[in-house]
């Protein structure tokens, strides 16, 4: 066994170095396509953080990623790699849509609790079968959730084209009643006399922070979280401790799926006010990068989500100013973050551990 690193090195130093490497390589990609990476970063930061408009968009994206990042993180603590947040989020959109269209809601605060339930229940339902099959039949949850992403996408297309479609050409639902529109952040701030540009950032941002806090309580403070972590580290020890693996696996997947589904509150209920095709747009996959970068800790997830919010918003602005760096650059950076903080983690960890060991030997 290797000597454990000090906490700060494990939680800050290594992720920081991994991230640095990812961005270094991303910089090389920018150089390769013939642009100035320093200028690109400047444009990216100005575009995302340089105005209340940019910040609003950045935090709007970040809100979505907090939900999908928490989704991946929660499953991860129970030893499950849920790649299915994308599909679960897609189903969450259906849930929100059904709630919003079923009743002529008079007030958003009346509709919201039901929308949360709808989003959560549909997302959880889509995670149930992979969880159940993993727990009961040993079917690898990674593979089943991949399959379920594709099945979800086919299902949502079918529903939008054949069942929920509004009259017209586009496969999308009719608009939600106005009584379901969540207040935008610029509207909320206006109440307090703070001026902000009109952006899609909405009330859901506060829900995301609450979700992160509740996730922290769940994982580190509750008995269920304790049992999830015990199971995630060692299944035999969990069984010994009277923890039912079937129950924990299914419950973890349900919570994870519900969390993914709730991203629909931000996008569908908070901004688009109707369900459009492919509204998730890869946010579920961004959640993987966010969770890895945040080391599956809710606080880390929030920080990582904001970073990806910056990339999404700044990337859009950057693509406008430097057309040769299209928004696909974000996907590249996302891939590099997953690669360096996830798969290539030992590239940094092993040398750092050796360095600490040497220092400790010298001290001894």
């Amino acid at each position: 066994m290797t000597a454990p690193l000090p906490r700060w090195a494990d939680l800050v130093l290594i992720p920081a170095l991994n991230l640095l490497l990812a961005f270094l390589v991303a910089g090389l990609v920018v150089v390769f396509i013939g642009e100035d990476p320093v200028e690109a970063v400047r444009l990216l930061l100005v575009g995302s953080l340089g105005s209340s408009y940019g910040i609003g968009f950045t935090l709007y994206y970040a809100t979505t990623f907090v939900f999908t990042g928490l989704s991946v993180a929660i499953a991860y603590h129970a030893g499950l790699f849920n790649i299915g947040s994308e599909g679960q989020a897609a189903l969450g959109g259906i849930g929100v849509t059904l709630v919003c269209l079923a009743v002529p809601w008079p007030y958003w605060w009346l509709a919201l609790p039901f929308a949360i339930l709808g989003a959560g229940a549909f997302g959880a339902a889509w995670a149930f079968l992979p969880g159940y099959l993993q727990a009961k039949r040993g079917s690898h949850v990674v593979i089943t959730t991949i399959m379920f992403n594709f099945i979800a996408s086919a299902l949502v297309v079918y529903l939008l084209v054949n069942v929920l479609k509004a009259p017209g050409m586009a496969p999308e639902t009719r608009n939600f009643p106005e009584g379901t529109f969540l207040p935008f952040m610029h509207e909320i701030l206006a109440v307090f006399g703070i001026r902000m540009s009109r952006t899609p950032m909405n009330f859901t941002a506060l829900l995301a922070l609450a979700a992160a806090f509740l996730t922290w309580v769940l994982i580190w403070r509750t008995r269920l979280g304790y049992e999830m972590r015990a199971f995630g580290h060692s299944e035999p020890a969990a069984v010994y401790a009277g923890i039912d693996p079937v129950r924990i696996t299914i419950v973890a997947m349900l919570i994870s799926g519900a969390m993914a589904g709730m991203m629909a509150l931000n996008v569908v209920m908070g901004f688009q006010h109707r369900l459009v095709l492919d509204y998730v747009g890869g946010a579920g996959f961004v959640g993987i990068a966010v969770s890895l970068m945040g080391r599956s800790h809710p606080f880390g997830v929030v920080l990582a989500a904001i970073l990806f919010g910056i990339l999404y918003q700044g990337g859009a602005e950057l693509a406008f100013d430097m057309p040769s760096i299209s928004r696909d650059m974000i996907v590249v950076i996302q891939a590099l973050v997953i690669l360096f903080t996830g798969a290539l983690e030992n590239l940094v960890r092993a040398p750092v551990e050796r360095a600490f060991l040497r220092r400790r030997r010298k001290a001894a």
Partner: protein, 322 residues
Amino acid sequence: MDFATVLQLAGSSLRLATPLLLACLAGLYSERAGIFDIGLEGKMLAAAFAAAAFAAITGSVWIGLLAGIAASSALSLIHGVASITLKGNQLISGVAINFLAAGLTALVGQNWFGLGGQTPQLGPGQRFLAIEWPLADALLPVPVIGPIYRHLISGHNILVYLALLAVPATWWILYRTRFGLRLRAVGENPAAVDTAGISVVRLRYAAVMIAGLLCGIAGAYLSTGMAAGFVREMTAGKGFIALAALIFAKWRPWPALGACLLFGALEAIGIRYQAITIPGLGVVPVQFMQALPYILTVVILAGFVGKAVPPRAGGRPYVKER
């Protein structure tokens, strides 16, 4: 449905099954050696782009093929370094590779050609064209055999035949050669291979690089054989269907052929008929046809119809235990 339609569907199934088959066999080598590969999709996509791009630039489909193989192999190498040398998480590495390919192909494609991520339309010399077998037209009047020979056996490009040949070749390598024995062993118990004096690292790299080669051919087929150029996200989940076929086939070469032909046929039917009416059941929507490979795979994974058990050491990096 008349005989001609059946033949057309069969030929189209075969052409659609080809990239699945190549990618599926790629996954077979990798996973039989104990390295999970959910990055088949990304490797195929990168190869499809590189093949079309270089075929367009150089005018040679063969240089395109080589470029496709090189691109796919480069990603394989990353996967190898991550999962073999650095003992990282193979699933996470696969996810990263898929995104890397999706992002880079679009980014570089736009940068090179400025066509919104597409490559220019490829001309005849820049593509793999169908090969007419001798006497195909002369034998056409012969009942049954003639049309089968003309429409099903003859008239595909060389990569289709290559993919079909890869099946017996893979079977032979796996079960009749020293390399195959060691490959299967390292996926089941790498420690046994190590103590027998064989390098686990070298074997696993070999397997991963073969996967790179086959995915490279699969990608090149997509953009220079089946289509006449690259478009964004042109793999559209084919890498995952290949993965599904691999599980469906329980990691064996001949069943892999069967699974890929089945999934190819499903796609062919889905393309030809937007909705299928089954008497007594009603209309089957096209989306259901598209989802069917994935649904079938989940059923197989669940073990309700013959449980699929992956190679025992699959997914875990080899660490000498203390």
